[in-house]
């Protein structure tokens, strides 16, 4: 089976879907000639031409509105917003339009628009370029929010996002574009709303998404080899709608849960999952659910400070050991 990077897997998903369906087109800042800031749209311009691979001005509100209008009229746009930080300029279009047009029109209008955008920190990008803002979109009814952690999921999920009838916020992570994994050559899809158990374990459940899946997996390996603790690692993959069943089943088995996220601690994806677990598996819990988040401050530039702001393998191991009294 071939090994692909996360960026290349996404690129393949776009190529396959654009070859299959003429109504799929890509637009965004630097997606055509440049090939995308993170190379995800590399080569598409030559293959599909300017009508279907279109550089836009730096106009986030305009670009998202353009995608909404085109989707309402039956096309399948895949709009790239260079990073999730810039999506703040398009929040009106996303929250007040994309997420609501179906409902406000009594189901007449559908908006099959995919917005791809990467977030995440750890690259010394400073306060305005390091954020993980997926919780904001999870809060809003009417949006599917997907967040793949590895190349296999990235490809299968993007293909599903494009085929689905709903508006999708497709959140990627800036520092995992070059990570690699095996990706099948045959067509496959990862379903919406289906979590994946990335590692089986019995003593504790660790839940993370995007880059934190890798952090959780590394922590689990070290917990096993260094402390004899068997940790189960779950990647929800879709943040909205959330696969609560898979999370709850795991916690019922292990009795303990740690959630790790790059989001800030308040009103976040992680705190919401903790609430779900405590509501639905309270009698099975041996300890309060622990949520590890980024520090409650804007992200700093200095490498030393930034590393302190973000969760890492060490913080996950410490939290698990503390919960297990080791």
């Amino acid at each position: 089976m071939p090994t692909l990077t996360y960026a290349k897997a996404l690129n393949q998903a776009l190529i396959e879907e654009m070859e299959r369906d003429d109504s799929v087109f890509v637009c965004g800042e630097e997606v055509a000639k440049w090939g995308g800031s993170f190379t995800v749209t590399m080569g598409l311009l030559d293959r599909f031409g300017e009508k279907r691979v279109r550089d836009t001005p730096i106009s986030e509100e305009g670009i998202v509105g353009l995608g909404i209008g085109a989707a309402m009229a039956g096309l399948k746009p895949v709009v790239e917003i260079m990073t999730v930080n810039f999506i703040m300029l398009a929040m009106d279009q996303i929250v007040n339009h994309m997420a609501k047009l179906r409902y406000m029109s009594g189901g007449q209008v559908t908006v099959p628009l995919v917005i791809r955008t990467p977030g995440g920190g750890g690259l010394q990008m400073g306060s305005q370029h390091s954020q993980s803002l997926e919780s904001m979109f999870v809060h809003v009814p009417g949006l599917v929010v997907m967040a793949p952690s590895n190349p296999y999921d990235a490809k299968g999920m993007l293909k599903t996002a494009i085929r689905d009838n709903n508006p999708v916020l497709f959140i990627e992570h800036e520092s995992i574009y070059n990570t690699k994994s095996e990706v099948p050559e045959d067509e496959y899809f990862v379903p919406i709303g289906k979590a994946d158990v990335k590692r089986q374990g019995d003593d504790i459940t660790i839940i993370g998404h995007l880059k934190m899946v890798n952090v959780a997996l590394e922590a689990a390996e070290r917990l096993e080899s260094e402390h004899g603790i068997s940790a189960e690692v779950i990647d929800p993959r879709t943040l909205a709608p959330l696969d609560t069943q898979t999370l709850v089943q795991s916690v019922k088995k292990t009795g303990k849960a740690v959630i790790v996220q790059e989001c800030w601690p308040h009103c976040s994806v992680g705190t919401d999952m903790a609430c779900t677990i405590m509501s639905e598996a309270f009698d099975y819990l041996d300890a309060p659910v622990k949520v590890i988040s980024s520090a409650n401050c804007p992200f700093p530039y200095s490498r030393q400070l930034e590393q302190m702001a973000l969760p890492n393998v060490g913080t996950v191991i410490d939290a698990v050991k503390q919960m297990l009294g080791k």
């Binding site: 305009g62 509105g65 309402m72 409902y103 009594g106 189901g107 599903t160």
Partner: protein, 335 residues
């Protein structure tokens, strides 16, 4: 073209249609106001009384396959683009038979089949979407155009400028029609825009600009027809400022402390319905009693719409969370 000449050139049917549509909107909005104060209609409710000539003139310049999207003062636009008054009234009543099943309300009338894509409650929110609709037309090689309505307040929003730039940059067939009723809620244009000539605000986007008397339905029709023809042939956007007046408050609950009664009284002297009525009688197109019969017929249609809304059921509880998503998510097994 002079509107006097238009009266001579247009057919009786065409002229009668314009008159009837304006009267229908007027009667509809008067009744809406009454029903609001009687407690049948809730929320924000913006009436189109005084501005009828803009929607009627502009929409009659289109083909049925052309797209229309607009702002929140949308009852009239919805009716002229093909929503039945009874379904618009039922929407205002929050009934299951409303155009949007009672989920949209006054600001969110939709009729996808007729290509009326809302009713937008966010100032300038509809402009970028209009550009997307136009992109879809060009993408498929169609010959339709998009008519996008917005108010004078929208020209100060970022979305306005992003949309005009994109439409011009990519040669997209949008007619941007600014309904300048001189007031953004209680703020006059002079206190909101660096120029009171709103065509100037669009003048840097390299598109053809026009300004029209929005109190004259024939002038609006003529200007929009020319814009539509240009847009359809060249596939380029245009901008029209239609200067109009609302005879009532910003919304039904606006006491209008910001403007004088004189201003409103003066505006009412240029009532677009009276103007057309006088032209039709003056040119011998219609007799006064024939126009009165049209008035009565429109009133009957509005009364029937209220009756329909009254008799219609409220939405079932299971409608609350339906239409949020397509919950039949794509999966490979179902492809």
């Amino acid at each position: 073209m002079q509107t006097g000449e238009m009266v001579k050139e247009m057919s009786v049917e065409e002229l009668t249609k314009l008159y009837r549509q304006m009267v229908l909107i007027r009667r509809f909005e008067e009744k809406t106001n009454e029903m609001y104060h009687a407690g049948h209609i809730g929320g924000y409710c913006h009436l189109y009384i005084g501005e009828e000539a803009v929607a009627v003139g502009a929409l009659n310049a289109l083909q049925p396959s052309d797209y229309v999207i607009g702002a929140y003062r949308d009852h009239g636009h919805a009716i002229v683009k093909g929503c039945e008054p009874k379904h618009v009234m039922a929407e205002l009543f929050g009934k299951a038979t409303g155009v949007s099943k009672g989920k949209g309300g006054s600001m969110h009338m939709f009729n996808r089949e007729k290509r009326f894509l809302g009713g937008d409650g966010i100032v300038a929110g509809e402009l970028p979407i209009a550009v997307g609709l136009a992109y879809s037309i060009e993408y498929r090689g169609g010959d339709e155009v998009v008519l996008c309505f917005f108010g004078d307040g929208a020209v100060n929003e970022g979305g306005f400028h992003e949309a005009l730039n994109l439409a011009s940059l990519w040669n997209l067939p949008v007619i941007f029609l600014c309904e300048n009723n001189l007031w953004g809620m209680g703020t006059p244009v002079s206190k909101a825009s660096c120029s009171i000539e709103l065509t100037e605000r669009a003048s840097c986007y390299c598109m053809r600009l026009g300004k029209v008397d929005g109190m004259d339905v024939l002038a609006v029709l003529d200007t929009t027809r020319r814009a539509v023809k240009y847009c359809r042939n060249t596939r380029k956007p245009t901008f029209i400022e239609a200067v109009t007046q609302r005879f009532v408050g910003h919304s039904v609950s606006d006491p209008q402390i910001y403007r004088s009664k004189d201003e409103v009284a003066k505006a009412r002297q240029r009532d677009p319905i009276d103007t057309l009525k006088n032209q039709l009688i003056g040119e011998g197109v219609k007799r006064p009693d024939e126009l009165e019969a049209i008035d009565e017929d429109a009133q009957r249609e509005v009364d029937d719409a209220v009756e329909f809304a009254m008799q219609s059921p409220f939405p079932d509880a299971d409608e609350l969370c339906s239409d949020v998503m397509d919950t039949e998510y794509f999966s490979a097994e179902t492809k």
